[in-house]
């Protein structure tokens, strides 16, 4: 009995501990979530080993020989044991609840020197707005990729323009739904420089699977440089900036060979933009409902005229015409 239990327990411990169950931990919150995860894992492995050990042992030890017509021992219960297996799980789950509650409070703690970034979900793109960084025309910096400095706590204020989306960076562990008419919050302090996926985890329609964006964590110096670059691009526009914008904002739905994007929700622009002029491209961006390509739904967000500055829009049009050989 003991042997079976030890063997099952050891096998499980190998599965539980030596498989990297969680992705890279790249935020302070990830450390907290992971510690809860491991505490729960240890408790659960012990319980499962116990159950599996007893089952395997009982199946082996108490199996009836063929043709056996006897009954087992008429044991109806045992108050002592029943109390034990009521009390011990109660204590364990209470401990898990308390530990989880404390960890939650830690993970969601917002220090006074934090940065606020507004996150807006819509079918099928993320927009990030930095309310304290100004660009051309006195408007806040708005991007389609999330860029944050390392080791600074960010409070995300999340909302949606249409259906529910959910903002998640697996390496940060924190996730929060984006709901129209409500501002929800989540807190992340990134601790590792790198590039991560922003994933939408709430079913939001046809483009749900490809509703992804990028999160880049930079050193503070690189972040400052990025901010200045963004301010410059917003001022100047141009095709180079247009390509960057396209990759971030448009590529999850549109295929464009030059930008290397393969989205399939919207028309393949290598084909759709053959022989069109700049006005058509501009109209298709700021008022997408005006002309819908055959076989596609009227699903493109209609807010790009607000999100992008005038120079950005012009840069984007310039880039698209360049990339598809159109504009003549």
């Amino acid at each position: 009995m003991t042997l079976v239990g030890v063997a099952v327990g050891a096998a499980l411990a190998v599965v539980a501990v030596f498989i990297p169950w969680l992705p890279d931990a790249a935020s302070e919150q990830a450390g907290i979530v992971d510690s809860v995860y491991w505490v729960v894992t240890i408790i659960c492995v012990v319980i499962f080993a116990l159950v599996a050990g007893v089952s395997v042992y009982a199946v082996y030890k108490f199996r009836a020989p063929p043709g056996d017509m006897d009954d087992g021992s008429p044991i109806h219960g045992h108050t002592g044991i029943e109390i034990v297996w009521t009390l011990i799980p109660t204590i364990l789950v209470t401990a898990i609840a308390i530990y989880s509650g404390v960890a939650l409070a830690q993970a969601e703690d917002v220090p006074s020197d934090h940065r606020v970034i507004a996150v807006t979900g819509e079918q099928f793109a993320w927009t990030f707005t930095y309310p304290d960084i100004e660009v051309e025309g006195g408007r806040p910096l708005t991007t389609g990729e999330l860029v944050v400095p390392v080791d600074q706590t960010v409070e995300f204020e999340i909302t949606s323009k249409d259906v529910i989306h959910s903002f998640w960076v697996p390496e940060w562990r924190m996730k929060q739904d984006a709901v129209q008419g409500v501002t929800t919050r989540t807190v992340v302090k990134p601790t590792k420089i790198g590039e991560y996926d922003v994933v939408c985890t709430e079913l939001c329609g046809l483009g749900h699977a490809t509703m992804r964006s990028r999160a880049r964590v930079l050193s503070m110096a690189d972040f400052q440089a990025w901010v200045e670059e963004q301010q410059r691009l917003a001022r100047e526009g141009g095709a180079v900036q247009g390509k960057e914008l396209f990759t971030q904002q448009c590529g999850s739905c549109h295929t464009l060979a030059d930008a290397g994007t393969t989205g399939e929700v919207g028309p393949d622009l290598d084909e759709a933009l053959q022989g069109v002029d700049a006005d058509f491209v501009m109209e298709s961006i700021v008022d997408p409902s005006a002309s819908i390509a055959e076989g596609y739904e009227d699903a493109m967000p209609d807010n790009f005229g607000e999100v992008f500055t005038e120079p950005q829009l012009e840069g984007l049009v310039e880039y698209l015409l360049q990339a598809t050989g159109g504009g003549n």
């Binding site: 969680l22 992705p23 979530v33 809860v36 995860y37 729960v40 659960c44 319980i47 499962f48 159950v51 007893v54 009982a58 108490f62 199996r63 009836a64 056996d68 009954d71 087992g72 021992s73 008429p74 044991i75 109806h76 219960g77 045992h78 044991i81 029943e82 297996w85 799980p89 789950v93 898990i96 609840a97 989880s100 509650g101 939650l104 993970a107 999340i158 249409d162 259906v163 529910i164 959910s166 998640w168 697996p170 562990r173 924190m174 996730k175 929060q176 739904d177 709901v179 129209q180 008419g181 409500v182 996926d197 994933v199 939408c200 985890t201 079913l203 329609g205 046809l206 749900h208 699977a209």
Partner: protein, 648 residues
Amino acid sequence: MAVDVHAEHTTAHAPPPPRRGMQRLTGPGWLRVLWTMPLGWVFATLLVIGARSAMGFEPLWELQVLIVAWTVVVPLAFLAGIGGFDYWAYWISGKPTRPEDHSGHGARTWRDYFRVNTDHKVIGIQYLVTTVFFFVAAGLMAMFMRAELARPGMQYVDTNTFNGLFSVHASLMIFLFIIPAFAGLGNYVIPLMIGAPDMAFPRLNALSFWLLPIAGLIMLSSYLVPDGGAFAAGWTNYVPLAVNQADGNLMFQMGVQWAGASSIMTALNFLVTIITMRAPGMTFWRMPLLVWANFATSTLVVLATPFVAGSQFFIMFDRVLHTNFFNPELGGDIIAYQHIFWFYSHPAVYIMMLPGFGIASEVISVFARKPIFGYRLMALSLMAILILGFSVWAHHMFVSGMQPWIRIPMMVTTLVIAVPTGIKVFSWLATLWEGRLHFKTPMLFALGFVSMFVIGGLSGIYLGSIPIDIHASDTYFVVAHIHYVLFGGSLFTIFAGIYYWFPKMTGRMYNERLGQIHFWLTFVGFNVTFFPMHWVGLQGMPRRVADYSPEFGNWNLVISIASFGLGASTIVFLYNMIVSWRRGEPAPSNPWRALTLEWQVSSPPPVFNFDEIPQVVGSPYEYGVRGARHAVLNGDRAEVEPREKVEA
């Protein structure tokens, strides 16, 4: 001896004389359905078009409104045609009710299974066959999904079709398979187990069954709706997506109403039957745990199901009547939908679990040849789950954006509900201890259920802890969790129950060898399919996606291949059931040497179950207790006294 007595019953309730001429078209049955349904369709269509033209609405042919009208009126016309309301219609209108009132009771030929039949045993089989049909349909949809997911990128279907596949898969599995399959098993077994001749309301019982194929066909036929096809917002049908979706979404909202009505009516029937129709001596503390489990489940169904009905009606009103329950621009509340929905749908998880607990208790006790360990605590833990089950719903909403404080009490109750569940698992294990275990197919499935359900329960602890849930919610970890609970839990117990009562229901034994093959294929296929999903989810793969990051490609291929094996195992099951039903060895009345009452009558039981109502004298699980009896049945009475004297 028993046979003679039954023959007498059969002649006493012979079928009504055959109908002739016009009577064929006006009497209840499929010929009448042939004209009532088109009539209903025309009526509903004219009603909508007439009302719209009177109001000056354009266009007159508005599909949304028509779908609502059709899905209400046509099913009612079908029910009227098949004869679901006949008795009540006669009674209400003051006409004499048909004298040969038991003509629709019991089955003499296979045709009787296609009629409104008031025999709980016929209804039980009607339920099971219908639900297995929808199980196969929903399973095939899962196969299509896994084919698409085998490789990253899009291969076979577009995203709209894919979203439809998983939405209809889940809806059929939940509303047309798991919940009604348990209702079917309960229907067959409960009256027998408590020593009753039938359910308390046999006509209501028949009506409950006939609502079910309606619900299923409405959901399936959503594929036929033009412009968009099947509902594709998940079985959770979250707003605003559900409100914005194409017209097919209405088919979910209306289908749920019929399935829900069926559930509620059956649950009321179970409750009244269990409370009022127990045989003399069958006190609550002598009821088999399956009866206890259905008592708890039925209470959950009656209290919770109106909420899901309401939630779907609100969506329908928002779409069709332009109300603003969930429109934030006009004061609606999106998150409120989730509260209403989960106030049903979390208890629904227990609706889909508790009857399985009951089946496991019956099977484990019989095949371990031992009394169930801690009978009273087993029954009380069902009641604890019933009560606690209503206080945990918002654990589905830890990242929804509801008031943050609600998360804490919901986490506590969620974790605490693991305690009564744990008591049940430990008690099943203790029931094995020092037993004499016979590994027949039902026992294999019951033991498979215990071990798989433990994994599902433990991953539930992870999801109950808010910090872990924030990471894991809406990922494949959740997909793994629900399948360990609903497949490893509910489905395994449904299989256990079907194999266990197959001899009783059909009068024939199933093929044991095929049963064992079915179990092992299912057990291995199930684990290889669903266990890796835990890892894939924690690593960052969201659920409900047709396409995913290439890093998960290899595991998804493994999962898909295993899922095809799992799907194929169902063929073994179906083959075994069909062939054994036709040509299996005749079953004795009590092949498992069980003590509960259903095994004390012939297989299949006589039309009115017992020739004489049994007298219950003790616990149903007294295996190994010398001289102990659960009940005294007619003919046995003479034996009782000497035995009691021996004991004394």
